[in-house]
């Protein structure tokens, strides 16, 4: 079977005809395989969803138990139609997976979803999944993105808290994944005071705790009187809402890979940019391609132009899929 008949982009997302399913579809479909729980990849309203147990749990938390008519935990290799399917850790957020597809006489395809190779205390590490066709994101697909050690970025936050002990530090972090990772990084750095959460990150953080991820003492950031700790984690959108006004003279921080670029940090009015990303940076991306050495690289979304150029320079066949509908949760 030709690769193009095995998996191809449609308006709804990547479609696999021999298995009759979509991967991370952006609109409701009868059968969906979902890489991870971020809203743009995991949507409600499908007929049937196959994903890791954690991703299914996260979808139920976000959308309610009826987010899909039927669900199946991806556990070990399974057959879907004529396709052998298996899920492998992607190192992006809790439950995130790469999906390997194989069928008789066709190529092996790995759809990596969003992935990251930097050790992350809130999820299982990325694993190489050898393949003929590697489907990759390119969110940070420019050679300027070389994410620094997240522990060093965490020390920046702690240093600022020591410098301004009287000022609350509001850290913007996406509610799923980044928020918990920042908390875990603070705990690893020895910070054990209560950490306050904006309401939108509460239930997902509780779920991480229930999964045995040590996030320590978490409290709601409701009224100023109740806030004892110096760190408050909130989705970046909260900074534009009157919610911020309850804090006196806060230091506005933001944890995202985009913070590597000053203009981006300035544009958001950030006083303490923290370069912490859940996506592969350029060295990891190019290292992954060099190691897997697939026959072909398909680029789903992001800065595909630069990545395709790099593949050209390195004698790798590459093509952009230009999938639409995938936002970037680090924005």
């Amino acid at each position: 079977m030709r690769a193009d008949d095995f998996l191809y982009p449609t308006d709804a997302g990547l479609y696999c005809p021999p298995g009759d399913f979509f991967i991370d579809p952006v609109r409701p479909v009868p059968r969906a395989l979902i890489t991870h729980g971020h809203g743009d990849h995991a949507r409600a309203g499908h007929g049937a969803v196959m994903a890791t147990r954690e991703t299914l749990d996260i979808m139920a938390i976000r959308y309610g138990e009826d987010f899909t008519a039927a669900r199946q935990v991806a556990d070990g290799p399974v057959r879907v139609g004529g396709v052998a399917v298996s899920f492998h850790p992607a190192g992006h957020i809790l439950g995130s997976a790469q999906i390997r597809l194989a069928c008789q006489g066709g190529p092996v395809i790995t759809v990596s979803g969003d992935y990251c190779r930097t050790p992350n205390p809130v999820c299982a590490p990325w694993e190489p999944v050898p393949c003929d066709i590697f489907v990759t994101e390119a969110t940070f697909g420019l050679p300027v993105f070389k994410h620094p050690d997240p522990a060093a970025e965490t020390r920046k936050l702690l240093a600022s808290m020591a410098e301004f002990p009287g000022r609350p530090h509001l850290v913007g972090a996406y509610a799923l994944g980044k928020a918990q990772r920042v908390i875990a990084l603070l705990r690893q750095a020895g910070y054990d005071a209560p950490i306050h959460l904006h309401g939108s990150a509460q239930r997902l953080s509780d779920y991480h705790l229930a999964e045995g991820i040590p996030l320590g003492d978490l409290r709601p950031a409701t009224t100023p009187k109740q806030i004892e700790g110096q760190v408050v984690i909130a989705p970046p959108s909260a900074f534009a809402s009157p919610w911020v006004q309850r804090f006196r003279d806060p230091v506005i921080s933001f944890a995202s890979g985009w913070m590597a670029v000053r203009a981006r940090a300035r544009q958001r009015g950030v006083e303490l940019p923290l370069i912490i990303s859940d996506h592969v940076d350029w060295p990891q991306l190019t290292q992954t391609l060099s190691e897997l050495r697939p026959q072909e690289v398909w680029v789903t979304h992001g800065a595909e132009e630069a990545l395709v150029r790099w593949c050209e320079l390195n004698q790798l066949r590459a093509r952009p899929l230009r999938l639409v509908g995938y936002e970037d949760e680090e924005e």
């Binding site: 420019l142 050679p143 300027v144 993105f145 070389k146 620094p148 920046k156 240093a159 600022s160 410098e163 301004f164 900074f239 534009a240 809402s241 009157p242 919610w243 911020v244 006004q245 804090f247 006196r248 003279d249 806060p250 506005i252 590597a260 670029v261 000053r262 203009a263 940090a265 300035r266 544009q267 958001r268 009015g269 950030v270 006083e271 303490l272 940019p273 800065a303 132009e305 630069a306 150029r309 790099w310 320079l313």
Partner: protein, 539 residues
């Protein structure tokens, strides 16, 4: 370089003055000599290094990186030095101190510079690479004035800011003697001739407050709308300083050439025009220039109007009462028709002075100065001996156009506003202001912005043109840099006009008419309370 890079990064993103000061002070306390001295000089622009050009940087990039990948990266990042700092593939090896970096840039010849810079980039981490490139290109862009930096020094120890400023001139980076002094060592000797002495500043006053004072204890003179300067000439060294101690001699060679006496004098720098004084706008043509063309020297000649003497013929007059100094001043011969004396005003009651203030003889007067006859000359801003009684601000009614979220204590509130005036059917932005509100007003404005947003760009929102604000300001200049063609001096929002429909806000030509209007604070107009873009009525 690590600590310096962290310092630059924090300063670049920290908007509040006090937080900036604190960050700098902590850095200076924790960093050894001579690193901190070089860092200090780099921040204040006093480090004179061979500057690395953008061309050289581009050359480095072309040698190392694929052209297409570099172009895509530069396009995304938008800043050449930053792109190179980010894209470079170096591994941090040991520590390169800022002192070593400065020496390297000082001692490397032009031909060897590209290789030397690449060599340094190879052994630094990304934020240190950026700090090094900013140092090398001499473009730190962190919005920190020399005075603010010296304020951080003053916070570190016993010497006051004025004492530090007085010894500063003639000292060279890395200033070991200053750091030793603020940490308890001896006061450094003044190294240079013709140093700057801290100037005496005034505090604002109004008629009600004046009534508590005896007019007989005071003298008054015009407050000139020029630039406050200190002209110093000692042992053949002649310098002109701004009131914060910046050496601005280079921009005014014509005035320097007129100094043939020995002393330190306090006065107003003005541009002369036929038979009088040119506008502040004309003076601005002469500011912020490293060199001045002959044509400009001819068309905009600089002059000095002296109002006090600090040092005269070797004698320090500062401890003596104002009237003693004034006697020496009036007897002095400046031997130049560019240098004259600011005259005293004749008055016996505060109402006399009020009448003079309401009808000044020259448009380049922005009020009156009131000084105690027996006061010595004291650097800084002592409350009492010197007052400024400025003319009333001018006002226009403008329409709120854009709002930006504030920082620090105003975090989360839309508190920085851009406002505009009508030109035909469109609003043209004329200025920005963020002060002048009470907490209650701040909340109301914030609510208004959130409920009337039409578009968002990052932290900025465009708002529906519905709200009129009264904007007070000190003057209007022509400005090619502004779309409106005019620039307001010291604009602030003085009142929110919830009551006024936006269509009734002022027009741009109202403001234009105020640019060269010679009698905007004409006594008649002031008394009649003509407010349409003229003078604010006293309430």
């Amino acid at each position: 370089m690590k600590a310096f890079a962290a310092l630059l990064e924090r300063l670049a993103f920290t908007p509040a003055r006090n937080a900036k000061l604190q960050i700098l002070q902590h850095y200076l306390e924790r960093t050894p000599d001579p690193d901190r001295g070089y860092a200090f000089a780099a921040l204040t622009g006093d480090l004179k290094l061979r500057t690395v050009t953008p061309g050289l940087l581009r050359g480095l990039a072309v040698e190392r990186f694929d052209e297409v990948l570099f172009a895509l990266s530069y396009d995304f990042v938008g800043d050449l030095a930053e792109t190179i700092a980010l894209i470079w593939e170096g591994e941090p090896q040991g520590e390169l101190s800022i002192t070593e970096a400065v020496h390297l840039l000082e001692t490397t010849g032009k031909a060897g510079l590209p290789a030397a810079i690449a060599g340094v980039l190879d052994r630094l981490g990304p934020s240190e690479r950026l700090a090094f490139l900013k140092l090398a290109t001499g473009n730190l862009r962190i919005g920190l004035s020399a005075r603010l930096a010296r304020t951080a020094l003053a916070q570190m120890g016993a010497p006051t800011l004025d004492e530090i400023e007085e010894v500063w001139h003639g000292l060279k980076p890395p200033y070991p003697e200053v750091f030793a002094w603020v940490e308890g060592g001896p006061r450094p000797d003044r190294a240079a001739l013709a140093p700057f002495r801290p100037v005496m500043l005034s505090t604002p006053i109004d008629l009600d407050e004046l009534r508590a004072l005896d007019p007989a204890d005071h003298v008054a003179e015009w407050k000139w709308d020029g630039i406050r300067v200190q002209a110093v000439s000692e042992g053949g060294v002649r310098r002109l300083y701004s009131r914060t101690g910046e050496d601005i001699s280079g921009a005014f060679p014509d005035l320097i050439a007129e100094i043939t006496w020995e002393g330190a004098v306090d006065g107003e720098l003005l541009v002369r025009s036929e038979g009088g004084v040119a506008s502040f706008n004309d003076l601005q043509q002469r500011l912020n220039r490293k060199t001045v063309s002959r044509a400009l020297l001819q068309s905009h000649p600089a002059g000095l109007r002296v109002y006090d003497l600090l040092i005269w013929n070797g004698e320090d007059l500062r401890p003596r009462p104002l009237m003693d100094r004034r006697a020496v001043l009036e007897a002095a011969d400046f031997r130049s028709d560019r240098i004259d004396i600011s005259p005293l005003l004749s008055f016996s009651t505060w109402d006399d002075l009020a009448a003079l203030r309401a009808d000044p003889p020259d448009p380049v007067i922005e009020g009156v100065m009131i000084k105690r006859r027996d006061a010595p000359y004291t650097g800084g801003r002592p409350r009492g001996p010197w007052f400024k009684w400025k003319r009333d601000p001018r006002v226009v009614d403008a329409v709120l156009m854009y709002a930006q979220r504030g920082h620090g204590k105003r975090s989360g509130y839309y508190s920085d506003f851009t406002f505009g005036l009508w030109s035909g059917d469109t609003l043209v932005p004329v200025g920005k202001a963020y002060f002048g509100f009470t907490d209650e007003e701040l909340r109301e404005l914030d609510r208004f912005v959130r409920n009337n947003t039409t578009e968002r760009f990052g932290p900025v929102r465009a708002v529906a043109p519905k709200l009129v604000v009264e904007v007070a300001f000190e003057g209007v200049n022509r400005s090619a840099r502004h779309r409106s063609g005019v620039a307001l001096r010291f604009p602030r929002i003085s009142r929110i006009r919830w009551d006024k429909p936006a269509v009734e806000a002022d027009r741009l030509d109202t403001l234009e008419a105020m640019i060269d209007a010679p009698n905007v604070f004409d006594a008649e107009a002031a008394r009649a309370g003509v407010r349409h873009g003229r003078t604010k009525r006293r309430e």
